[in-house]
């Protein structure tokens, strides 16, 4: 069991430049992703509504905006804030700078991550990590280790994915994108819609409303681009998270699904969930609203989910309309006041699988 808590969250995403705007928008009618963006070409893409012609300056502006929100919510003393170590998870780091600056505009991922930490005003050690789509939770995993060591009370975790043509072209080349919309768990789902986000989570040893009960990691080596069809690795990782948190399955109130609308990947996760749970609890997917934000998806979806729950709501799963009997999951939003325990799934290229157990403290 972990002794770490989520002290504060902030987010810039397609739903809005800040978390408050995102939660409000998510409570309203679904909004379709943008089309014909510079990044996405013909593919729909969930872009952060902050404009800027220079890729790097835009990234810095987004980081400063998220930093301001996080700092306000965290309410740390200035010296404590400045001493924060910063763990940065991303699958692409600054590769988008190539789009308008060519090869010369690229910099090592450590340098780019350090510039983000600086935008946040965090002067502690910077550690960039990449495990593709689970990068943000790998960053969280490192943060939990630093807190467990006792060397830091608070650690800043960033999940970062900014628009870039390469990622969209790569997913298109792999035939993983939908030409229309993200439909998590839906019978007519036909692929992912990508998006950008900067999710920031301040993890702390000091008590806060949500405790991180466990973070389990696993490896699904069936393929480097997709899960084993039977969902074995996902089920095993979820089981490990439950065991470490010392929870029975019946105690889970909500599952945040990885599901992004991929026909086979969603099916594998559905099989994993049904293998573990005799009665499947409530579930939600956020990728119909945020897009699949890849390395940012862990912190971004965590921020959005906890902000929604703190307002008493389980957000709706945008894009889900027609249940798929074979998949057997029907994510739905509604009253979130009774949600005390959440199992939060994440997986990605390279077989990385993670499951986070979150518990309302007190």
């Amino acid at each position: 069991m972990s002794g770490a808590f989520v002290r504060a969250c902030a987010l810039a995403s397609a739903l809005g430049p800040d978390l408050e705007a995102a939660v409000e928008r998510l409570a309203g009618a679904p909004v379709a992703p943008a089309r014909d963006t510079q990044t996405g070409g013909p593919w729909p893409y969930f872009a952060i509504p902050i404009s800027g012609k220079d890729w790097r300056k835009r990234a810095q502006a987004i980081a400063r905006s998220v930093a301001e929100d996080l700092r306000r919510e965290a309410a740390l003393a200035p010296g404590e804030w400045a001493a924060l170590p910063c763990i940065v998870g991303s699958s692409s780091f600054c590769v988008g700078a190539w789009d308008d600056g060519g090869w010369q505009a690229l910099e090592p991922s450590f340098e780019f991550s350090s510039s983000l930490a600086k935008a946040f005003g965090a002067r502690g050690p910077v550690t960039p990590v990449s495990t593709t789509c689970t990068s943000g939770f790998s960053a969280l995993d490192i943060a939990l280790g630093l807190i467990a060591e006792g060397e830091f009370r608070d650690v800043l975790v960033l999940g970062v994915e900014f628009c870039n043509r390469l990622t969209v072209a790569g997913f298109a080349g792999l035939q993983l994108l939908s030409a229309t919309a993200a439909r998590p768990c839906d019978r007519e789902r036909d692929g992912l819609v990508l998006g950008e986000a900067l999710g920031a989570v301040l993890v702390s040893a000091a008590p806060a409303p949500w405790r991180i009960a466990a973070l389990a990691t696993g490896m699904d080596a069936a393929s480097v681009t997709g899960p084993a069809p039977d969902g074995t690795a996902t089920a095993k990782t979820m089981r490990a998270a439950l065991a470490r948190a010392q929870w029975e399955t019946s105690r889970v109130d909500l599952i945040k699904l990885q599901s992004g609308g991929g026909p086979l990947a969603d099916l594998a996760e559905g099989r994993a969930v049904r293998e573990l749970f005799a009665t499947v609890p409530g579930s939600v997917s956020l990728k119909g609203a945020l897009g699949h934000t890849l390395g940012a998806s862990g912190p971004a979806e965590l921020a959005l989910l906890l902000a929604s729950l703190s307002r008493g709501r389980v957000p709706a799963t945008w894009g889900f309309a027609k249940p798929d009997e074979e998949l057997g999951l029907a994510p739905s939003g509604g009253d979130g006041k009774g949600v005390r325990r959440v199992l939060f799934n994440l997986s990605g290229f390279g077989g990385s699988v993670m499951s986070l157990a979150l518990e309302k403290a007190g």
Binding site: S91, F93, V95, W98, W103, P108, S109, F110, S113, P125, T127, P128, V129, S130, T131, T132, S138, D141, I142, G145, A148, E149, R165, L166, A169, G170, F171, A172, G173, L174, T217, G218, M219, A221, V224, T225, F349, G350, G351, S352
Partner: protein, 217 residues
């Protein structure tokens, strides 16, 4: 907690020799994996061969620049021409894939991570590895760097951390007296351990941390 380091493995490969070395070790298994992942696996597998053992494994490696050549190929060869990125070109730019490829070789991998670190931050690797030993029996730790220019070899250095002592293992612990430690980098810390001989402990410093390595038994 006592932690032991096994099989420090130093691999230097001329870029033009990498394909033949990979074919010699893995036959055709890795033909589409990309150069960086191949380089990772060549060093990591050599380390595992030397260390033996078969328990649950974590794989943690760092690089300053990552899969530079694959990224360059994806950007220059595909995007610049306005063509969709070829699947394996795109996949090859993800250094994290090396972990899955190692897992596919029947190693019981439970967690992996690729860090991007400057050379003096190597000392974060053993610190993280110690934390991972709470749920992995063994942690394979590496530093991998592709050659940036002609005449310079690719580097793929690896070692294995575990709590179980075995003959020939090196006992390691964080050192409090960093001022007496020799400065090491990501490129040479494993090589220094591999080359170390004599009864005196080896003290190496990287960034904010120092580590003491001593003979076991």
């Amino acid at each position: 907690m006592n932690v032991y380091l096994l099989a420090p493995t130093v691999l230097r490969v001329a870029p033009e020799d990498l394909p033949a070395r990979v074919r010699a070790r893995f036959a055709a298994e890795l033909r589409r994996a990309g150069g960086f992942a191949q380089l990772c696996l060549l060093g990591a597998q050599a380390c595992l061969d030397a260390a033996g053992g078969d328990g649950p494994l974590g794989i943690l490696w760092a690089s300053e620049f990552g899969a530079v050549h694959a990224t360059r190929a994806a950007l220059d060869e595909d995007l610049k021409r306005g063509e969709p990125a070829m699947p394996f070109t795109f996949i090859a730019m993800q250094p994290h894939l090396a972990g899955a490829l190692l897992a596919q070789r029947s190693h019981p991998v439970t967690r992996t991570a690729c860090l991007y670190l400057p050379p003096d931050a190597w000392s974060r690797l053993p610190r993280l590895a110690l934390g991972w030993l709470a749920d992995c029996e063994r942690v394979l730790v590496g530093w991998v760097e592709e050659s940036g220019s002609g005449g310079v070899a690719h580097r793929s250095d690896w070692c294995l951390f575990q709590e179980k002592p075995v003959a020939g293992a090196v006992r390691c612990e964080r050192a409090l007296e960093a001022e007496n430690a020799a400065a090491a980098t990501g490129e040479d810390w494993i090589a220094r351990i591999a080359a170390w001989s004599g009864p005196a402990p080896l003290l190496l410093r990287g960034g904010e941390d120092a580590w003491r390595f001593g003979r076991h038994g």
